[in-house]
């Protein structure tokens, strides 16, 4: 499905968006605050299969990617929203309960929040762990953690 069609669906639901067809597939960029409405509209249009939510640190902000698929037509759509560091995007679990774990993971690993999540606890890491998928958190190299060689 071309990205423009997806944008039309979203426009009909009153969500403005910027479509583009990329190597990835149909990508639609929109305001973070409207993502719940957008996904509800897509679910109503037959995008019944939620694949993934993950965040990327672009260096200036966190870019969240929602990947949904219309299973019957095998159409993939990638919704991208940008939230500032420590910003927030509404939880979309009412449309896709599959996102429950993924939102918790994105929250702890990238330091964003998802208001409306019913169970906003840490998922993978323990208290005090940095949101290490941000680029500012460096992986310690093997040399750093290794015991000194004699």
């Amino acid at each position: 499905m071309p990205a423009q069609r997806v944008a039309d669906i979203l426009a009909a639901a009153g969500v403005p968006s910027a479509p583009s067809d990329e190597l990835l597939g149909a990508v639609v960029r929109l305001e973070a605050s409207r993502v719940a409405d957008a996904l509800a509209a897509l679910l109503a249009e037959g995008f019944d299969f939620f694949l993934d939510l993950f965040g990327t640190d672009t260096g200036e902000a966190i870019e969240l990617t929602y990947h949904v698929r219309a299973l019957a037509a095998l159409d993939d759509v990638f919704l991208k929203v940008v939230v500032p560091y420590d910003g927030e995007a509404p939880s979309v679990w009412r449309s896709y309960p599959a996102v429950l774990h993924a939102e918790r993971e994105a929250a702890e690993l990238l330091g964003v929040s998802f208001p409306g999540h019913p169970n906003p606890k840490r998922l993978l890491t323990t208290e005090g762990c940095d949101p290490f998928l941000r680029k500012s958190v460096a992986v310690r190299s093997a040399e750093e953690v290794r015991l000194p060689r004699e």
């Binding site: 190597l23 990617t65 702890e108 169970n119 208290e127």
Partner: protein, 400 residues
Amino acid sequence: MSDEPVTGVQSILPEGTQPTPMLPKGLKRVPSGVDQLATEHLILNVGPQHPSTHGVLHMLVELDGEEVIAAEADIGFLHRGIEKLAESRRYHQMGTILDRADYVSGFHTETAFALATEKLAEIEVPRKASWIRSLVMELNRCASHYVWLGPVGMDAGAMAPFLYLMREREMILDVLEAISGSRMMFNYVRPGGVVRDLPAGIDAPLRAWLAIADKYLGETEDLLGGNEIFRARMKGVGVIAPETALAFGMSGACLRSSGIDFDLRKARPYCAYGEIDFDVPLGTVGDAFDRYKVRVEEIHQSVRIVRQLLDGMPEGEHTSKVAKALRPPAGEVYAAVESPRGELGIHLISDGGPTPYRLRLRSPAYYNLGVADELLAGGLIADMIVSLGSLDIVLGEIDR
């Protein structure tokens, strides 16, 4: 990024709210009322060191007697930050960590990554490489299903099938070792093809396995699916309706056992699957027994696929020329394979550098496990163990 150090659970909570205590969502903590006695509910920690959580899963369950009232999966005990580590690995080195994500079917993760990289860098893959990939992936699928089928029998109390299936799994792992050099941490599939051609004489041990695979699996089917006790344990337990399966993003055999016909090997053929003849087994009810049946039939189908791949293995190069220090152009791709657990996707973002800018592993078991909280409530402890086992979770892949 803000200068404030982000610490603790507060970082993911809205301003001013307190973290909720670690208790299941539907927690009641009230007299049960079932028998008018003031019985208190029991909070039970199942795992992370429990024989039936198939790894280091921690299930927090609330019990009324033996009945599960609410359950919550707690994961992360095996979290190694693979997605972060991937940002500092070059493309040809990635196999070493991706093998360790889904440690029972490493070839699938490796291939998904190779497919993503090839899409991004526009690398042609020789036909033989695709066939070899399909071959090792199907073998790996069988090995993975064996090591699911055995433990799920153990969950139901049958020890014999587990050890019988180990016999067949050993035969496969020996073959995989002869092909790749390692039994589970293969590091064999690379962008552009595979590291080495199939070794000479691999035909014999493979045919030896093919000759007995269906027969021995039939014995296991008699021991498990043919057994009345096992059927009574599995039938009607852990029923997942098709809508629920879709809503929770389940894929693979869990989705198909609910009656939804979706298999990436058919839907978007990759590697050699477009040229291979096989069926996709479907369930009807979506209970644990359907998941058992679907997976067993998948092994039979994999045996069929391996036979075809072996008969029709093309001649030619096993890899195309790919620069060691691969620098794919900046861009973003998604590639997925049908792993034994479902759709295993690699979402790769490159900035043109020698290492990925961001690598996201879309783990099927991670999403399949999401349904657990809904699924387990209402059953007995024994049902919980069987339902959880029937999901085929691999914690390495869930926690990454």
